[in-house]
């Protein structure tokens, strides 16, 4: 891994580089040996390259376009930042305006995490919006779904039952031999007030930008686990009268999981390889829809009674 504050045609940004270095260290994700990142500073957004090239996708914050060489160009619209991702290796050159560099946690949450996701794809690490966990018997679980499906609350619940938890939403899938592994980005499990109340969780750290309270797995009675080999895949859903598991076929896993990773898929480069990783995941796991009901929190044994 190499991090550099130097870039051609702009001033080095060693201050931002130090902050990014710390952010990557806190994330504890094993970065590939050939990962390269450089950071340059420009005075304002007018100094950034103009938006151009075929659009891959866009959000209110991001404009992602194909560069002519098979790489990606990514603009952070609201604060003025630009990333040039190399076509076939995990290498990215960042250009930050002073405004972007001053955005603090938003720089990481809204821009750099997305840049990192698209950069790591070049080395076969594919982002999936999922929580990861290891049960007391050593079996590994993924919980995939959107940010309001009960994924984080379930991850916190599992930690409180002594499970290992890797992440509540930032998982990177990776093909290792014939199996699919899942690597966790280390961070706090972010609970909304409702989840905190259900778990009767005390302590935690305020995450103001998300309006949530964050807990490390060990603060809830569990422990952190970085890499898992998923045997079970859950799709949590809120609103059931009682908690129960509904089997999902391996084939249906494919279409169920695509929404939680689709924006990584819609770049032509690497799409076939990533579909193969998803196929491995669908094949190696037993999948269920997890219908979450209030009994999960009323009876400590409720989830254990469901397990296969």
């Amino acid at each position: 891994m190499s991090l550099s504050g130097l870039a051609t045609g702009a001033a080095a940004d060693t201050e931002s580089l130090a902050a990014i270095r710390q952010w990557l260290a806190d994330g504890r994700l094993p970065l590939p040996d050939d990962f390269r990142l450089s950071v340059a500073r420009v005075p304002n957004a007018a100094s950034l390259p103009p938006s151009a090239g075929p659009r891959i996708y866009e959000t209110s914050e991001l404009d992602v376009r194909a560069s002519g060489d098979g790489g990606l160009h990514i603009w952070w619209r609201s604060s003025g930042a630009f990333a040039a991702v190399a076509p076939d290796r995990p290498e990215v050159a960042l250009t930050l305006t002073a405004e972007a560099a001053a955005r603090g946690v938003d720089l990481f949450r809204l821009f750099l995490m997305n840049v990192l996701i698209l950069t790591l794809k070049r080395s076969g690490l594919y982002h999936l919006h999922a929580a990861s966990a290891r049960d007391p018997d050593g079996r590994d679980w993924l919980l995939a779904g959107d940010s309001c499906c009960g994924k984080s609350t379930t991850a916190a619940y599992l930690a409180s039952r002594g499970w290992g938890v890797g992440t509540d939403d930032m998982t990177f899938l990776h093909a290792s031999g014939e199996v699919c592994r899942a690597l966790a980005w280390h961070g706090r499990i972010a609970l909304r007030p409702g989840g905190q109340a259900l778990l009767q969780a005390a302590g935690g750290v305020v995450i103001p930008e998300r309006g949530k309270l964050g807990f490390l797995p060990e603060e809830l009675g569990g422990h952190w686990v970085q890499t898992i080999t998923p045997s079970y895949l859950l799709f949590p859903e809120l609103g059931a009268e009682r908690t129960w598991l509904e089997p999902v076929s391996a084939g249906a896993v494919l279409s169920r999981i695509v929404p939680w990773t689709f924006w990584v898929l819609f770049e032509t480069r690497g799409a076939d390889e990533y579909l193969e990783v998803l196929k491995r995941l669908a094949t190696q796991t037993t999948a269920y829809r997890l219908h979450l009901g209030p009994d999960l929190f009323e009876r400590p044994s409720a989830f254990a009674e469901l397990l296969p």
């Binding site: 494919l254 695509v258 929404p259 898929l265 819609f266």
Partner: protein, 91 residues
């Protein structure tokens, strides 16, 4: 429709497990789920095919009448053309 040749769009990728699958249209940034029949048809459309050729592929694969197979293939083609998953193949 009988002599026109169709093929999968170049931006389409698909994979399957156990007779169910998913189709990605990279250009349109959309995805679709597929049942076994759809997988058979879209698999055949990796090469340019006419409707009668698609009907024949269904009849070979499944115990269906030619009328049933044509109805299925025609409806599938219409859906895929509307979604740009399948395009008319230029001669």
């Amino acid at each position: 429709m009988n002599t026109t040749r169709y093929r999968r769009h170049a931006d389409v990728r698909l994979t399957d497990v156990g007779g169910e699958g998913v189709v990605l249209h990279l250009g349109e940034r959309r995805y679709f789920s597929l049942n076994e029949t759809g997988l058979t048809l879209l698999g055949a459309l990796a090469e340019p095919r006419t409707l009668p050729e698609l009907v024949a592929s269904l009849c070979e694969e499944y115990e269906v009448t030619a009328v049933e197979a044509e109805s299925t293939a025609r409806a599938f083609l219409e859906q895929c053309l509307a979604a740009a998953v399948v395009v008319v193949s230029e001669p």
